[in-house]
């Protein structure tokens, strides 16, 4: 089996055992082999500048248009700078960046990403650059469609620099509908998929 297929099996096995009827105790499933874990476990926090640059490049937006708070504050270089790993020596006397993320860093990350993804979708309504598979007002594509796989693959390549594994396609397929099972628009799917991928820890740590 190829690596991708192994993880398809892994991912689907995990999903299929989430309380569905097919997973009764008297039908033992073979334990999927998990990926070997790092034992060095050393990650580096991707701080404000690279974080902003990566969003900017992935979504082809100028950095100054990624996020503004209350209509006036630059999210990245002003109000959320410390939370995104930057430091401001001149006025506040913070001479070195903080060693680790703050309590609000995950929320701030979500805000900036959501703002950026939304900005991209809005721009694409008139001048498609990233979300080009379909018209954004149309219903989201089917999970087995080329539009879906192309969009997801493109987002992973732009944001994380790799192709998605099967389990990731499957998971993101769940964003094609809402909680009631009704299809969302392609624009909504685009926002949510962009948000979901760019707020994973893989985007924030290297």
């Amino acid at each position: 089996m190829t690596n991708r297929t192994i993880h398809a099996w892994l991912g689907l096995s995990l999903l299929s055992c989430l309380g569905l009827p097919g997973c009764r105790d008297d039908q033992p499933e073979p334990e999927p082999a998990a990926l070997a874990a790092s034992t060095r476990n050393h990650l580096v926090w991707k701080r404000y500048h690279a974080f902003a640059q990566d969003l900017s490049r992935a979504l082809e937006l100028p950095t100054e248009e990624l996020c503004t708070e209350l209509g006036e504050f630059d999210c990245i270089n002003d109000v959320h700078l410390a939370g995104l790993g930057g430091h401001e020596p001149l006025h506040q006397g913070l001479l070195e960046p903080l060693a680790e993320p703050l309590a609000t860093t995950p929320l701030v990350t979500e805000r900036v990403v959501l703002s950026a993804c939304t900005a991209r979708v809005e721009r694409d309504r008139t001048d498609p650059v990233v979300f080009t598979a379909l018209e954004l007002d149309q219903p989201a594509p089917a999970e087995d469609s080329e539009a879906f796989t192309d969009t997801v693959q493109d987002l992973y390549r732009r944001l994380l620099g790799r192709d998605p594994i099967d389990a990731e396609y499957t998971l993101l397929g769940q964003l094609l509908v809402d909680d009631e099972g009704e299809p969302v628009t392609f624009g909504e799917f685009a926002q949510l998929a962009c948000f979901s991928i760019a707020t994973t820890t893989e985007f924030s740590f290297i």
Binding site: H7, L14, A34, L35, A36, A37, S38, R40, N41, H42, L43, W45, C67, E69, L70, G71, F73, D78, V79, H80, A82, G83, Q92, G93, L94, L98, A99, E100, P101, L102, A103, T104, T105, P106, L107, V108, E110, R111, L114, S115, T118, I165, A167, E168, L171, L172, Q174, L175, D178, D179, V184, Q191, L192, F195, S196, I197, T200, T201, E202, F205
Partner: protein, 499 residues
């Protein structure tokens, strides 16, 4: 073992690797074991909780130029009043009922180009009942070093800042237990790696807009609805765990801590509607399309801090109050900054108290006024409002302590050729002002030698003045810790100052 058979690091690594059980890696060592504690632990009992407010009077706030002045007629015979930093009796005021004296407001001439908006006199008149003046001598005249030592008690409690110590003691279950709006050395974290994660400082650089950091989506335009975002978050959590990156680094401490904050602290802040409660931006300045509201307490805060909408120093005070009032924090640090304008008037000196290098008395007068104006506003708010808005918990003030921290004192001498306008250097000897109903109020502990203008200490247990002794950073730290029910090895018994 002789030197010839020493283990090198590599030999040590390979020799014992096979005998080691799993998990503690170098990364764990670096981060400290206490991070394993769940971030959103069950909250401490509000009835027992105490609140600390550290007010950083940055640059060197001199106690003998504020609430421990010496007058010319108190000097020993033969002293040269013109060469000592003493005041004419007419320049020193003792408000009715106060055991504490203070320097009178600056004359218009002494104000130079500044426009103080408050005075030490007003503060002492209003708050002497709860003022505790403690003499102290610092151990560094380097700003950054002294500032940090003022926060850590010169390392008396394993290098923890007093705010960290209080947050660990009282902050269980609070999402932002320890918030820091200070600067320089006051902003530095402590040095104890075993500190619980919840007690680490949350840096707030822009109090006016900080509320926006407490919600992942509200206030952004054109975004999907809340339910859709919730769904997306759920998918994102699964993506994170299913990805090759997530699986490979599933045990990485940095990632674990981040996920803990995202999965526990973030929802806490959102559920508590922190984005509204902490919103200092006036409603008129919030674009209507964002669907946000100013804090329900904004008007009350503005009543006590009238320039809240324009003055970042008052915004710090307001934010510190809101964080405590709404039960999000139990330790806040705020720090007065440098040059500040109110319209065309200059209300704060460049370099804050360190402008004393240029014009000592003007800088001290202007900056003490500026600091105490916000402290007064904070006290007013704490006295007016019930903790968590619950009358059963009593007024916030009953459980609060305000610590006016500063770097060090200033020179005690004046040049005879220019006794009114002169600059001063840094000086270790000084004092500290604390305010709390948990302390003995309307009292000075220690004294000032009129011959040298150096402060001296006191007996920690009896409170009797003890000329020839000095109190240190560790004493101030111990006093605060004792009042705040923070225990640690090496804490000094400061019972004399406790109410």
């Amino acid at each position: 073992m002789s030197r010839n058979t020493r283990l090198s690091r590599r030999r040590f690594f390979t020799g014992v690797a096979g005998t080691v059980g799993a998990a503690v890696t170098a990364a764990h060592l670096r981060s400290g074991s206490a991070r394993a504690e769940g971030m959103a632990a069950e909250a401490s009992d509000p009835a027992d909780r105490k609140l600390l407010f550290v007010v950083c009077a940055s640059g060197g706030a001199s106690i003998i130029d504020s609430v421990l002045p010496v007058t010319t007629d108190e000097l020993p015979e033969g002293s040269d009043a013109a060469s000592l930093n003493v005041y004419e009796p007419s320049r020193v005021i003792q408000p009715a009922g106060s055991n504490i004296r203070c320097v009178a407001p600056l004359s218009p001439l002494d104000q130079l180009f500044f426009t103080p908006q408050y005075s030490i006199q007003e503060f002492v008149e209003a708050h002497h009942a709860h003022m505790t003046v403690v003499t102290q001598e610092a151990t560094s005249v380097n700003h950054a070093v002294a500032q940090k030592r003022a926060m850590t008690g010169a390392g008396i409690n394993r290098g923890r800042t007093i705010a960290e110590a209080v947050a660990e003691r009282h902050g269980r279950g609070l999402p932002l237990a320890n918030c820091n709006m200070g600067s320089g050395g006051y902003l530095e974290p402590g040095d104890d790696r075993t500190l619980a994660g919840r007690a680490r400082g949350e840096i707030i650089t822009n109090p006016r807009a900080y509320a926006m950091a407490t919600h992942g989506s509200r206030g952004l335009e054109g975004i999907p609805g809340a339910q859709q975002l919730l769904r997306a978050r759920g998918i994102r959590e699964q993506l994170d765990d299913a990805s090759p990156f997530g699986e490979t680094y599933r045990n990485a401490p940095l990632r674990e801590r981040y996920l803990s904050m995202r999965r526990e602290l973030g929802p806490m802040l959102e559920e508590q509607d922190a984005i509204t409660k902490l919103m200092l931006t006036p409603q008129d300045d919030i674009p209507a399309a964002l669907g946000l509201e100013s804090s329900p307490m904004a008007d009350q805060v503005r009543d006590a801090l009238p320039n809240l909408d324009k003055d970042s120093w008052q915004q710090q005070g307001g934010m510190a109050f809101l964080l405590a009032y709404y039960g999000m924090s139990c330790a806040s640090t705020i720090g007065v900054g440098g040059t500040s304008f109110d319209g065309d008037t200059v209300v704060s000196a460049p370099l804050a108290f360190d402008f004393s290098h240029t014009v000592h008395r003007t800088a001290q007068g202007v900056m003490w006024s500026r600091v105490l104006q916000v402290v007064s506003g904070l006290i007013t708010l704490l006295q007016r409002h019930d903790y968590l808005g619950d009358p059963a918990l009593g007024k916030m003030w009953d459980r609060s302590l305000i610590y006016i921290a500063t770097d060090f004192g200033r020179d005690k001498l004046r040049p005879a050729t220019s006794p009114d306008f002169y600059g001063t250097g840094h000086h270790l000897n000084n004092g500290t002002v604390l305010l709390s109903p948990m302390l003995v109020g309307n009292r000075v502990f220690g004294g000032v030698d009129p011959q040298t203008l150096l402060t001296y200490g006191f007996d920690r247990r009896t409170g009797e003045a003890a000329p020839g002794t000095v109190m240190r950073e560790g004493d101030i730290y111990s006093l605060i810790a004792q009042a705040m029910d923070v225990d640690f090895d090496g804490r000094r018994d400061m019972s004399a100052a406790l109410a």
